[in-house]
Symmetry: C2
Subunit: 276 residues, 2 copies
């Protein structure tokens, strides 16, 4: 059960099969081709096929039955959290699930150049850096690294940060918050992030970078959030806007669902399937 190292060809095959399963190309309950068939099809030895299947099996994606074959397991549905964008909840406490926070680091540091520039710090100015991991039902799903200018960070304590959302702390201390600019991308899990989120190194992550600005236009908070895509994803409803010739999508204006669960509908199923 160590499965520490992920070899090359076996890893490829595992990734490939994982996607086929996640995308529904191989329906749940269906039987995979036999190991010799897979070996022949992908030009690898049977041992390699078995290694790939081993990792899928230990992830609970497939079910191997001696004598009959390997089958795609029905997902036990630890349904991922889906954050609604039209609503854009800042925090998930309201989602009806038990969430928690672990504070991994807290210190005043020299911020990386990119962060300093985003926050509008002068050279040499320090920032308060904190690293937190958010949990849902005891399972970690996001890794947050925040930088706050030192003058603002001093208005609250380390214990505050472990208990109260950062934005609340900022507002409580009189820091006005106006607008923010954020970017969504993707990254790989580094060693530390991988361990904190219970992943292997090199796992894919949703990356969100948000810079929060106060009314004076100065940066107040720099947030780098990394999400496990199998437990967290962004969802939004769009509608078609604009005249012919210049048509585009625009997000549906805040239609909050009280349940906190993501807006139901056909999209959800697809979202799960595509989480690969």
């Amino acid at each position: 059960m160590d499965a520490s190292l992920e070899p090359q060809k076996a890893r490829r095959l595992a990734l490939l099969l994982r996607e086929r399963i996640a995308s529904g190309e191989i329906a749940p309950g269906a039987r995979l081709p036999g190991e010799p068939a897979l070996a022949l099809e992908h030009g690898v030895s049977r041992v390699t096929v078995r290694r790939a299947l081993d990792t899928l099996a230990s992830d609970g994606l497939i079910d191997r039955r001696v004598g009959s074959g390997t089958f795609v397991r029905e997902p036990d549905a630890p349904r991922p959290i889906v954050a609604d964008f039209s609503n854009m909840l800042t925090h998930l406490v309201e989602m009806g699930r038990r969430t928690g926070v672990r504070l991994l680091a807290f210190a005043y540091v020299q911020p990386p150049e990119a962060v300093a520039q985003a926050l509008g710090l002068k050279a040499g100015e320090r920032s308060q850096r904190s690293v937190r991991v958010r949990l849902i039902d005891g399972q970690p799903f996001s890794y947050l690294t925040t930088h706050v200018p030192e003058r603002i960070g001093l208005t609250y304590s380390e214990a505050d940060l472990a208990a109260v959302p950062l934005l609340t702390l900022l507002e409580r201390s009189g820091t006005a918050i106006e607008r923010a600019s954020q970017t969504i991308g993707a990254t790989l899990a580094g060693p530390d992030v991988a361990e904190a989120l219970g992943l292997e190194i090199g796992s894919p992550l949703l990356a969100l970078t948000r810079v929060v600005f106060g009314p004076d236009g100065r940066g107040v908070e720099h947030l780098q959030a990394l999400y496990r895509p199998d437990r967290y994803s962004f969802q939004m409803e769009l509608h078609r806007a604009g005249d012919a010739g210049e048509r585009r999508w625009s997000p549906v204006p805040c239609r909050t669902t009280d349940s906190g669960e993501a807006t139901p509908g056909p999209g959800l199923r697809a979202a799960q399937a595509a989480r690969g």
Copy 2:
């Protein structure tokens, strides 16, 4: 220059360093830690470090100078595309850069179960599957897999698809388009996607799944888009909404900039820095 096989640890290190460079965590022009230092830091041998640096060097990301060190090269500025969400441009032709499309596959197939369900197809109904790669300045940045119900797909030809945006084709053929539901996540590049996008297998990708619905509520298009995060990311402006106690972010209502470039301002710089 064969570099056919990508070893394990060297590959990880290369990916990790590549991202640190792309994210600006190691500023352009800065000097990397020495090879012995990197080896110690990551718990690998110097040979492995060198292999990782070799791939980065051959990609033109770093500059190695005997006797003085290894430096991050100033990027030749293939600036990443930043898609504005408040605006949510469906297509990038307007962005003032030469874009192109390559049609990789076009066929009528039995759709995977998840797609059939999202589109509301009955068992046995076929769909038109197409795989396209979008280019910008000759460089691929997105890999699009679309499924359209067969009855709708028949209204246009393969050549049409290679030249005209799909949504335009749909609307031109009288298919009304109302709303869409989309989800954003992250994945790893499989073998085929990796090759099409000029990436290594296992590179991180932004994954967007969109299901487009017509006025009758039936699915019209199922899109799975995979983006290279170093060339494409989502950007949006938010402002603080809601009363105290229940405050949240909401997207800035469509403030279109005519330039097509993402909305300028302090956020842009941050977006680039954090695009990793």
